[in-house]
Amino acid sequence: MTGLGHRLHRPGSTPVHRLPPQCKLVATAAFVLAVVCTPREAVWAFGGFALLLAAVAALARVTPGFLVRRMAVEVPFVAFAVLLPFVARGPRVEVLGLALSQSGLWSAWNILAKASLGTAASVLLAATTEPRQLLLGLERLRLPPLLVQIATFMLRYADVIVGEMRRMRLARAARGFDGRDVRAFGVLARSAGALFLRSYERGERVYLAMLSRGYDGRMPVLNEIAATRAQWAVAAVLPVAAVLVASGAWMVG
């Protein structure tokens, strides 16, 4: 069974893997912020960010191939960026015989560079942190507990619901259903409705089971482990370096 997020996670015991999840979450968010704040004209700065991430990836033993493949999720989002040089207005430059908008080119570069760096940072985070650990990290960062609970249940039940969906698909196929064109939509919609109802009923049963074991609206805190100063300091290396690069870019630019 492939669990949610298990294709993203690469088990290991490198220093990056061992850092407490809350430190990694804060470091990633701070790094992305620094990247986003950097002026787009400072091309060298983005090279610096990429080098920083490459260093983290090397330390975490995440191969470049894995990183690039997992970054494919950003493709639909940056597809828009590719259009910009053609549709944006303003002065034009000649590139390979095409007249492209100058400001459009800058915007495209801006989106592409920042999105790629952000995605790479997130993929690194996911590759070195189990999904469960990520949620613990969010809990320790004092995110609203209800949100964390919902995400935790999603993690637990995604496989169960996908399993149910697979069985329904098998049952449809076993009775000769072949959903290839628009006429199949009605059947698929009813299946989706049935799946929703089943999940809803399961939710009620789970709630009963929770009540039976003394649940009173709050999840018990089971994993309260604070990170040490040293761990925070190690995690801070990446964002601090990124902030230095970003400030450099502002001063030079």
């Binding site: 669990g3 935790t152 789970v206």
Partner: protein
């Protein structure tokens, strides 16, 4: 000695008007293992959900180890839910935490147990069902039989007065069924087992109740109940094909 469970005159109708229980009286002594038999729709689950106060509002009283179930008394209700450990039929409903260890800790942690004592309870409960080695795995990666056993551990960790099992043998393969039986027989705890798996009841429970049409239709030693063919037929209960009820009596 105070009985583990005393149900008297329990009647209940669902909000839509369907009457499920018509005056149920049951007393289960400490350390007894009792099977609750009955066809589908007899009110077995309704009765079980009354034992820890999840359903209430009808007539009659339920007492667990001498303490009356009173849904208005929140502190008392918490104690009741500690005393009545329900193992639900689908372990995927019961195991909702990300790892086995956290799931087993959920109940005692809600009761305010923490630190080393919590650790001890979790390990003891898992050891009692032979599942200590899977403590750090997510429940969805276990086999069905393992999940059922972990579900029993989640309840044992609360050190209940009475263990209530809803169809414990359902969906288990024969080996898983036997392994669970061995574990349950080894537990020193009062047990109420809801089932229509009659041989399983005979194997595990010296005493049987038949719940049918919302009342207790029979109460006696399991071999006698299962040997009464007319009684079984009257309440849609059947032994598997080729089963000789005399076999139970001889044991």
């Amino acid at each position: 000695m105070t009985p583990s469970l005393e149900v008297s005159g329990l009647a209940y109708a669902y909000p839509d008007g369907t009457q499920a229980l018509y005056g149920v009286d049951v007393t289960i002594g400490k350390g007894e293992r009792v099977a609750l038999l009955g066809p589908n729709g007899a009110g077995k689950t309704t009765l079980v959900l009354h034992l820890n106060g999840i359903l209430h509002g009808g007539l009659g009283t339920v007492r667990v180890g001498g303490l009356t179930v009173d849904p208005k008394d929140r502190k008392g209700l918490r104690e009741i839910r500690r005393r009545v450990g329900i193992v639900f039929q689908d372990p995927d409903d019961q195991l909702f935490m990300p790892t086995v260890r956290e799931d087993v800790a959920f109940g005692p942690a809600n009761l305010g147990v923490g630190g080393a004592e919590l650790e001890r309870r979790v390990e003891t409960a898992l050891a009692r069902v032979g599942m200590l080695e899977v403590a750090d795995r997510p429940p969805q990666h276990l086999s069905f039989g393992q999940r059922r056993r972990v579900a029993v551990a989640t309840v044992l960790a609360m050190e209940p007065e009475i263990l209530v099992l809803d169809e414990p043998s359902s969906n288990l393969d024969p080996a898983g069924r036997r392994e669970l039986a061995e574990i349950l027989l080894g537990l020193d705890v009062t047990m109420l087992m809801v089932t229509h798996d009659l041989p399983y009841a005979a194997e595990l429970c010296p005493r049987s109740l038949v719940l049918s049409g919302g009342v207790i239709a029979a109460d006696g030693p399991t071999p006698e109940v299962l040997g009464d063919e007319a009684l079984l037929r009257a309440h849609r209960l059947e032994l598997p094909y080729g089963f000789d009820p005399a076999f139970f009596a001889r044991r």
